[in-house]
């Protein structure tokens, strides 16, 4: 929007220290507190991940930040503009890709972008050139005249992202951007997120995909039951659970009772079956390595893989949210726990 941004707006944007500042943001639905007095800041040109299980408050937060929902308490500022007191100015700074691709199916790809440009009152020449540039960038220019209803899910997602980028916003909100997409679309979108960020765009992304967050985010916040459980860089968060080291082993022919046998080895806190491998969580990897070797020898098993693994962002997530996989107690997990209460029966573990 460089071409038609007022001088006072430029000053406000430059003065703002953070791209997003959230202060005591709260959303209540009757007695249910969906988002509970959360506070955080997102720096300019940062990729900020917002992680949490279903119902943790991720989408509610993004809906409040983007003006769809009015907060019950608290406030937030986008590039220095308060979302309650200066909603128009705040919305001029943002582009939004919601969790569902909310494109106009009855309109063509081109008309979807042009209509978005009209909502931002972009001059016609700028609107047309920007639409052309984005459709070419996303490989959709050849199909610009077709109605979007005939597009695949991945293509609709790309159209949705182009619509969010029409106004050359400073902050891009992405709600589960790669959820339910094929591998090619996921890779395209991840690559695009990195590129946009390199161009200076601040990106706020909510995701279930912890590995994705670990790969692309400068910092992540983990939200659970409407409260922020932790905010830091992925690597620093991993260091907070250094005790969650593990050894990954695979046998050529695993015995039927491997889960039980490995779980009974000394210094093993917990064993998780991940595909054809077993992951043994421990505070003392070297002792466990020796035990595993002895276990293989005594049971005449051939070890085909042995890896020592540090804690993953998923381990941090599990520790902070208390989420356990659905397979627990059904043969997929065995052991003496990982030193914390883990109450809910949902979620998934990453294949390491």
């Amino acid at each position: 929007m460089e071409g038609f941004t007022r001088a006072s707006e430029v000053t406000t944007q430059m003065q703002a220290e953070f791209a997003i500042e959230v202060s005591n943001l709260t959303k209540k639905y009757g007695d249910l507190v969906a988002v509970d007095h959360i506070n955080f800041q997102v720096r300019k040109s940062e990729i900020f991940g917002f992680l949490g299980p279903n119902g943790a408050g991720k989408t509610t937060t993004i809906r409040m930040l983007t003006g769809i929902s009015i907060p019950t308490e608290g406030t937030a500022a986008i590039m220095g503009y308060d979302i309650r007191r200066q909603p128009i100015e705040a919305k001029e700074q943002m582009g939004i890709v919601p969790d569902i691709s909310n494109v106009y199916n009855e309109l063509s790809a081109w008309d979807n972008l042009i209509f978005t440009g009209k909502l931002y009152v972009m001059p016609k020449g700028f609107r047309d050139s920007r639409a052309e540039e984005l459709l070419k960038m996303f490989g959709l220019y050849e199909r610009r005249g077709e109605k979007v209803q005939g597009f695949s899910r991945g293509m609709k997602r790309r159209i949705c992202i182009t619509m969010a980028l029409m106004n050359r916003s400073s902050v891009l909100f992405l709600d589960e951007p790669t959820s339910g997409l094929d591998v090619q679309s996921v890779l395209i979108i991840r690559d695009l997120i990195r590129k946009l960020n390199q161009e200076g765009l601040t990106i706020f992304v909510t995701t279930h995909n912890i590995e994705e967050a670990s790969q692309i985010c400068d910092r992540v916040a983990i939200i659970n039951h409407g409260k922020i459980a932790a905010i830091d860089t992925p690597e620093r968060l991993k260091r907070t659970v250094e005790s969650l080291q593990s050894i990954e082993v695979a046998f050529e022919v695993p015995p039927l009772d491997a889960l039980k046998g490995l779980g009974e080895l000394p210094y093993v806190g917990e064993v998780v079956k991940e595909g054809d491998k077993f992951r043994l969580f421990t505070d003392d990897p070297s002792s466990v390595l020796a035990s595993v070797w002895n276990y293989a020898q005594s049971n005449e098993l051939k070890l085909i893989t042995v890896n020592t693994l540090g804690p993953s962002l998923e381990d941090v997530f599990v520790k902070l949210t208390g989420i356990r996989p659905a397979t627990e107690g059904e043969g997929g997990r065995m052991g003496r726990g990982r030193g914390q209460s883990q109450g809910q029966g949902m979620g998934q573990r990453r294949g390491s």
């Binding site: 939004i96 909310n102 106009y104 199916n105 009855e106 978005t116 009209k118 009152v121």
Partner: protein, 252 residues
């Protein structure tokens, strides 16, 4: 002042863009055709067939009914559909006020209502000898009524629901009873005094009266009262529509 006028111009342009998009997208949807076109014409035919009054006398009723049903049907088709595929959220996240969003939606209903109600006017003039005696009254009738009824539809569209039927049902619960107290079937002057009071409170009464007056007939309450009441209802429906949609945002 310059800032204010540029802001107003900006909001007006967005409202117009929204209206044009709605026209392109929703005018040919089955619920728009069913409740906005077929419904008033069917009602009119079932009411007029077999009656002794000449059709030229009944044309104002048809004009009023088409204005009433067509204008008030677009909002209840557009907004629940947009809620279902979350495209309504696009407006809420755009740098534009809620008033402009709803005015854009209202404008789509206004154009639909006026477009459909021109048909009975043309039919009346071309085939049944109707004459436009007062152009100003006809313009006021069509402009105010379409605006007021479209705003009424937008107000009802604030009811939670993601299917047009979920809004049309309660809307018809109001629209159909209004037909009975608005001088459609029985002239206002023939109603008992309590009926005339009720009739005065119905916006549809004033649309019919203005349409009659415009085509050379009489008005029971007088054209100024008709125009004033329609204007008051238009403002009220717009205000209530905005309030209800803000309440929805608080519940979101």
């Amino acid at each position: 002042m310059k800032v204010h006028s540029s802001r107003l111009g900006r909001e007006a342009r967005v409202a117009w863009a929204i209206a044009v998009k709605d026209i392109r997208t929703y005018y040919t949807r089955p619920p728009s055709i069913m409740f906005g076109i077929l419904f008033p014409f069917s009602l009119f035919l079932s009411f007029s067939i077999g009656r002794t009054a000449p059709l030229s006398v009944q044309i104002p009723v048809l004009i009023a009914q088409t204005l009433f049903f067509a204008s008030s049907s677009i909002g209840p088709v557009v907004i629940p559909s947009e809620r279902a595929n979350q495209t309504f959220d696009r407006f809420l996240t755009s740098p534009v006020s809620l008033l402009s969003i709803l005015l854009g939606k209202t404008l789509a209903g206004v154009i639909f209502g006026i477009g459909i109600s021109v048909i009975p006017i043309l039919i009346g003039v071309a085939f049944f000898g109707s004459q436009i005696a007062n152009v100003g009254a006809l313009v006021a009738c069509m402009a105010l009524s379409s605006l007021g009824f479209s705003a009424m539809g937008i107000m009802f569209a604030s009811l939670p629901g993601q299917q047009p039927g979920q809004v049309m049902m309660p809307l018809n619960f109001v629209r159909i009873p209004l037909l009975f107290i608005s001088g459609v079937y029985t002239p206002v002057r023939e109603l008992p005094s309590w009926g005339q009071m009720g009739s005065m409170l119905s916006p549809l009464t004033h649309t019919i009266e203005l349409a009659r007056y415009a085509l050379g007939g009489e008005t029971f309450f007088g054209p100024l009262v008709n125009i004033t009441i329609l204007a008051v209802y238009t403002a009220l429906f717009l205000f209530m529509g905005i309030r209800f949609h803000i309440m929805n945002q608080r519940k979101e």
